[in-house]
């Protein structure tokens, strides 16, 4: 089938080495520094605050939002993380999840809103989202290292690419699903476009949007192990060192830690979605 040769590899490398790095390097450095500072701040906060206090806050949150059972599970889960001596890595993972989820939401929800309102934007965004979701994550880990170095920042960027699509899609879906008679009524009373969005569409789409946020968080967590390959600290790197030293026990301890975090975060955000 090779009727002609398509030098995608050479061109891509040329583009990255000749233009992206020298010309855009400063720009990426700024982003890198900002994100890095943000990740550090969140990580430090989570590590400085005593585990007991974080545990109590989590228990209260899950009790209020998701009920007694989940509150009990949160207690057991936190005790587990402490007792296998993985509290600090767990908090590092949470920090990266929190930061990348925030970035995903801040960028993803407005794009989702625009895609719901404008068919043109929807048609542009859709293939990009397909691309982001199906491209193997290792492929963008490489440029992420080139552009942002090793550590938490490229992990957040890679996680952002992996975890943003559900936020965009669910926001768009939620807004499109708002019943047309409600929108018509709002227009008939003289709403502006903005009032319609803020007072009608977003509140009615909120539970769907929250389901998207929940998915974003879950995907961010599942990215934790892969991201540890580019130097992201946390439970992922615990699992990774378990794999590389064939230490089944360490791998299991770290892996279970991720599952514990996943369940707690999932139930809390799902509960938020139901309340909305």
């Amino acid at each position: 089938m090779n009727y002609f040769y398509f030098p995608l590899e050479e061109w891509t490398n040329l583009f990255v080495n000749q233009w992206l790095l020298p010309v855009m390097g400063g720009f990426f450095n700024t982003i890198s520094n900002l994100l890095g500072a943000f990740i550090d701040a969140v990580t430090n906060l989570l590590i400085v605050v005593p585990p007991e206090i974080i545990t109590i806050v989590l228990i209260l949150l899950s009790w209020k939002i998701a009920g007694k059972g989940i509150a009990l599970f949160t207690l057991i889960g936190c005790l587990y993380l402490g007792s296998v001596d993985l509290w600090d890595p767990a908090m590092q993972t949470v920090a990266i999840v929190v930061v990348s989820t925030l970035v995903s939401i801040i960028i993803g929800i407005p794009i989702g809103i625009l895609a719901a309102i404008s068919d043109i934007i929807d048609q542009i965004v859709r293939p990009i989202l397909d691309f982001m979701q199906t491209l193997p994550s290792f492929v963008y880990l490489i440029p992420a290292i080139l552009l942002f170095g090793l550590g938490g920042v490229p992990a957040v960027i890679a996680t952002f690419i992996f975890a943003t699509p559900p936020a965009v899609r669910m926001t768009s879906l939620g807004i499109k699903q708002v019943p047309s008679d409600v929108i018509e009524a709002s227009r008939a009373f003289g709403s502006t476009r903005w009032q319609l969005l803020i007072k009608v569409q977003l509140p009615l789409a909120l539970s769907t949007i929250m389901a998207g946020v929940n998915q974003t968080i879950m995907l961010a967590l599942s990215m934790a192990v892969i991201a540890s390959m580019i130097g992201a600290p946390g439970l992922g790197s615990t699992v990774l060192s378990g794999i590389s030293t064939v230490n089944v026990g360490l791998g299991l301890a770290g892996g279970l830690g991720i599952v514990v975090l996943a369940i707690i975060l999932d139930r809390i955000t799902q509960g938020l979605g139901r309340k909305a």
Binding site: A185, A188, G190, K199
Partner: protein, 399 residues
């Protein structure tokens, strides 16, 4: 002055609406255009006007374009051609800000499926129109609470729409429209989703609200009985066109074409006609001063056994029977003392079906009285002839 004036309003749905419009103007029919171009004609050159304070009903079967028509009036749907003058201003030509102001201040709308915001309480739903106008909270809450009381939902202001029955939800929709204090109310099949009994209640309440608030109402319905009951005037729509505009009686008595006459032939006239339609001008009247001799002679001339009595200002006094008149003559007592004042009195807008029951029990003709004046009399014969023939029987029916 006309509150709403619609001139040659047309809506063609499809890829080339202007082309469809041209075909319509050439007299092509809706089905023909659909066949040839695939475009759907929603409204075809409709014209009508609604006077201030008038209750105007647009009646048509589903697919007749009535819901499109009402949405063209507040431009929820952009028309293909024509004018809609609201207080003399063409809403079609308005810029978006102006259009918004018009929707906020002049037109409010009630929807078939209520269109309530499920995440807001009744109070916040009703206050929505004022909220988006930027009215401050205290003021809009106060106004919303008044409207809620007006529609009979006192005590439900903190409920959510899904906690209410359909009828109550539509009351919320009505309160929301009233809270905006616009002169014009657009009501799109407002009661069609409700159970018959609740629907009747809502109709009655809307009529009494209309008496109180004196809005200009444009009401859409597919139910002829509802149209005849509510409308001061009715427009009948078919295939996007208005085929007849007229008062309920005009529609019933002089259907413009076969379509309308087919429509109205099964109507229960007793619900449409009211006392003033079937009453007769009393043939013999007399003032008090005339005395019993004159009374007896007048009854003799009219070949009647009783006579209604009014004073000089035509204020209704009562009924005098021949026996009483003779008694007064013989015993030389004043007519006032023998006058029968217990005759059944009815108002001119009492519906015929209520009159039937009253007339069946009454010994004498019914007196139609408004503000103390005797407008006319109704005998059993005039009720029956009204039911059969539908309008005033020219022959005199004397008491």
């Amino acid at each position: 002055m006309n509150k709403i004036e619609v001139k040659n309003l047309t809506k063609v749905f499809g890829s080339h609406p202007q082309q469809g419009l041209k075909r319509l103007k050439n007299g092509e029919a809706k089905a023909e255009i659909l066949d040839k171009t695939g475009m759907t004609v929603g409204v075809n050159q409709a014209s009508f006007e609604v006077k201030a304070g008038e209750f105007f009903v647009i009646m048509g079967l589903s697919g007749s374009g009535k819901s499109t028509l009402i949405r063209l009036v507040n431009r929820l749907i952009e028309p293909t051609d024509g004018e809609v003058l609201i207080d003399g201003e063409d809403i079609i030509k308005m810029e978006s800000t102006e259009l918004r102001e018009t929707r906020r201040k002049r037109l409010s709308m009630v929807f078939q499926n209520f269109g309530l915001l499920p995440h807001r309480t009744v109070l916040d739903n009703v206050a929505y129109g004022l909220e988006i106008q930027g009215v401050d909270k205290e003021k809009r809450i106060k106004k919303a609470e008044e409207s809620i009381i007006d529609v009979g939902l006192k005590g439900y202001k903190d409920s959510y729409p899904k906690e209410l029955s359909g009828g109550m939800q539509q009351r919320v929709g009505l309160a929301r429209a009233l809270a905006n204090n616009t002169d014009i109310l657009l009501m799109d099949e407002a009661f069609s989703a409700l159970d018959p009994i609740i629907r009747k209640d809502m109709q009655d309440e809307l009529l009494s609200l209309q008496d109180k608030l004196d809005k200009t109402i444009l009401f859409i319905t597919h139910d002829l009985d509802e149209a005849l009951k509510l409308g001061d005037r009715i427009a009948i729509m078919k295939e996007g066109q208005i085929v007849q505009v007229g008062s309920p009686e005009e529609i019933l008595e002089n259907p413009a074409n076969e379509y309308v006459s087919n429509f109205v032939k099964d109507v229960d006239r007793s619900k449409v006609l009211v006392a003033s339609h079937v009453m007769k001008k009393p043939e013999v009247l007399m003032t008090y001063k005339d005395g019993p001799r004159v009374a007896v002679r007048k009854m003799e001339e009219a070949e009647a056994s009783s006579i209604f009595v009014v004073d000089k200002e035509k204020n209704y006094k009562g009924l005098l029977t021949i026996d009483d008149a003779i008694k007064a003559y013989k015993e030389e007592i004043p007519l006032e003392q023998v006058l029968n004042t217990k005759v059944q009195e009815v108002l001119p807008d009492t519906p015929l079906h209520e009159l039937i029951g009253i007339a069946a029990e009454a010994k004498y003709p019914l007196a139609v009285i408004e503000n103390g004046k005797l407008l006319g009399i109704i005998s059993r014969i005039s009720i029956l002839s009204g039911l059969v023939l539908g309008k005033e029987n020219e022959e005199a029916v004397t008491p």
